[in-house]
Amino acid sequence: MTEQIEGSKAVARAVAACRPRVVCAYPISPQTHIVESLSTLVRTGVLPGCEFVNVESEFAAMSVAIGASATGARAYTATASQGLLFMAEALFNAAGLGLPIVMTVANRALGAPINIWNDHSDAMSQRDSGWIQLYAESNQAATDLHVQAFRLAEEMSLPVMVCMDGFVLTHACEPVEVPTVEQVGGYLPAFVPRQRLDPDAPVTIGAMVGPEAFTEVRYLAHRTHLDALSRIPALGEEFARGFGRPGMSLLAPYQADAETVVVALGSILGTLKDTVDGLCADGVSVGVLGLTAYRPFPGAALCAALRGARRVVVLDRALAPGVGGVVAADVDTALRGTRTPRYDVVAGLGGRPVTRASLDAMLRAAARDALDPVTFLDLDTDLLAGAAGHG
């Protein structure tokens, strides 16, 4: 049943339908509505058999999730921005220990300057943490991705981050079909951990590993990620069969056989598609290639999807200072060996709206190869002049 619901509430209900045993959280905008809703669902008994732990920091949130997951409990938390950075050490640890924790990241900029609005700097900063990262385009996708994330995480024994744009998705009310406990039950089996803290069969987890085996441990982590590349679409198809709507895939192409293809992720894809429709009507051949999976990076699939493109534009919602876009660098790696011209566009930082008009102008310029290698969309030159004046 489709209902008009806030993104955060829909996600909270989807998570609850997955029957986590431990939910821990520390508040940070724009994640708050998700964990507030989950707290209510636990308190009111809608989500039974679950411990909701109000922790004292995000570092503790991830650590509680680590302890719970290692004890064989399905564990969930959510954060954003500074909170994600604050748990960084524990993120790498959860991935290294192979604990299938699922976490929502309500994507938000990183300070300084402090800024609560949406971009992808937070999740991108943790791209090498060993977590799988899935990006939601809409609230329906965000809701459904959580169900699939638990399945994927537990199958791969890896933690999964579901990234949804802060405010743009978390606080938006849209029609969403929220999965029910019964539906989820048919898709997500009970959590059977690979290893568990159990007094009856005691194991040592988290031993120190030296040079003689460390490379092999890391290689296996890499291989597990590569295995996930085939499991993501397979689990997405299974989801589609069970739920009657599309499941996750690695890529989300939209008229991607065009001359100019824009690679992007998250909620900006909607605006991009609208822009592309307008451009095509004008005879400008532009398509979109959405990324659902950012880690593992679907390089081969991306390369194949871009084979016919005359040029590729990568729209990044994060900045690697001194480099340019973050995703752009991954796309370059995937396109290695090809001569396809590639443009970086850094857009929508710290919540700056990315308008259809700006995208339209930028893509027309790209189609003429009249775009700088790295473009900051809608850069306010007057503001910069003022800043320079204040030296």
Binding site: S57, V64, A73, P199, V203, A207, M208, G210
Partner: protein
């Protein structure tokens, strides 16, 4: 009187006296069927107080819980010397995550067990003084404040030993460490710094807080058992001399732990819900010099000249402890 005879036998060798006690009161370590929670083959230095303390604590906890125990360990000497992959000295369910998060990880374990209806399984978190009073303090305080069902044990060797003896928030005044050199007008660690972790734990109002040392294993075991009789957050702070970091002889580990309590520098007591309920009395206080002199970290207090001024300040700290906990008062014995 039988009571007196027990005390007589327990002087010097507690194991001998065991024969006269009912089985339940005997030392855990005297039981050949004990768990051996941390078994041989680990890489601790000779005379390591931490290895000793961990063995007493976990074996006692295993007995108290009927073997239903999960342990979470912070990074530090204990973790490093016990688990060089692919070996492990642990015979208990054991998890190491990070340096600063052991109390929170333990909370997660306890929360999972609760959700699974397995509250019969108990949880111990453990770490060094650095992992407890410094980098893990936020997580520890959070665990206390929520009254999570975890016993956290701090093995206090008064510095960051695993990284080569740097100063921690538990390093005593005047002690030389790699980051508090014994040079200048105020050699070694500064006075007026450091945290009294057990008292801060007490301020949280948690059910049980206790201090202990490896010099009195029966007392340590008793406190673990006692701690396990409570639900909620509990804290045990154990003094564990470190021959490497203290510059002491391996054979002096137990002697130094005893001297630390007998001079008053390390008061041994128990507290419930924020109030001290018992303190181990000192029969005759020994001067702090007897405790300080065998340790090279305090050598600058004796050579090239006797620093009576500095020693006097340390003695004052010991005297204040004796007064605060009534360690010389009659009636405790």
């Amino acid at each position: 009187m039988p009571v007196n005879r027990v005390k007589f036998y327990q002087t010097g060798s507690y194991a001998v006296g065991n024969r006269l006690l009912d089985p339940r009161s005997r030392a855990v370590q005297s039981d050949p069927a004990r768990t051996n929670a941390i078994t041989t083959g680990h890489r601790a230095c000779q005379g390591c107080g931490e290895a000793l303390g961990a063995r007493y604590v976990l074996d006692a906890a295993m007995r108290a819980t009927g073997g239903k125990l999960v342990t979470v360990n912070a990074t530090g000497c204990l973790e490093v010397f016990s688990t060089p992959f692919p070996e492990s000295s642990w015979r208990v369910a054991w998890l190491h995550s990070l340096f600063g998060n052991a109390p929170a990880v333990a909370t997660g374990v306890a929360a999972a067990l609760r959700a699974q209806g397995r509250e019969d399984i108990r949880v111990i978190g453990q770490g060094g003084d650095g992992g407890t009073v410094d980098i893990g303090f936020g997580c520890l305080s959070g665990m206390f404040e929520r009254d999570d069902d975890v016993l956290f044990v701090c093995y206090d060797n008064q510095a960051y030993m695993n990284t080569g003896v740097q100063r921690s928030g538990a390093t005593p005044p005047a002690a030389r460490t790699a980051t508090t050199d014994a040079v200048g007008p105020a050699p070694g660690n500064a006075f007026g710094q450091g945290k009294d972790a057990p008292r801060i734990a007490m301020a949280h109002g948690i059910p049980y807080v206790a201090t202990a040392t490896v010099a009195d294993p029966r007392d340590l075991e008793y406190k673990v058992e006692r701690a396990m009789s409570f639900r909620g957050a509990r804290y045990l702070h154990v003094l564990v001399p470190c021959p490497l970091g203290w510059g002491s002889a391996a054979r002096d580990t137990v002697r130094l732990a005893r001297l630390a309590t007998q001079c008053g520098l390390f008061p041994v007591y128990e507290a419930e819900r924020g109030d001290v309920v018992a303190a181990t009395p000192i029969r005759a206080a020994v001067p702090v010099t007897e405790y300080l002199r065998p340790q090279r970290r305090f050598a600058h207090l004796f050579r090239p000249e006797l620093r009576t001024d500095v020693i006097g300040r340390i003695q004052a700290i010991a005297d204040a402890n004796i007064a605060r906990y009534g360690l010389l008062e009659a009636g405790h014995d």
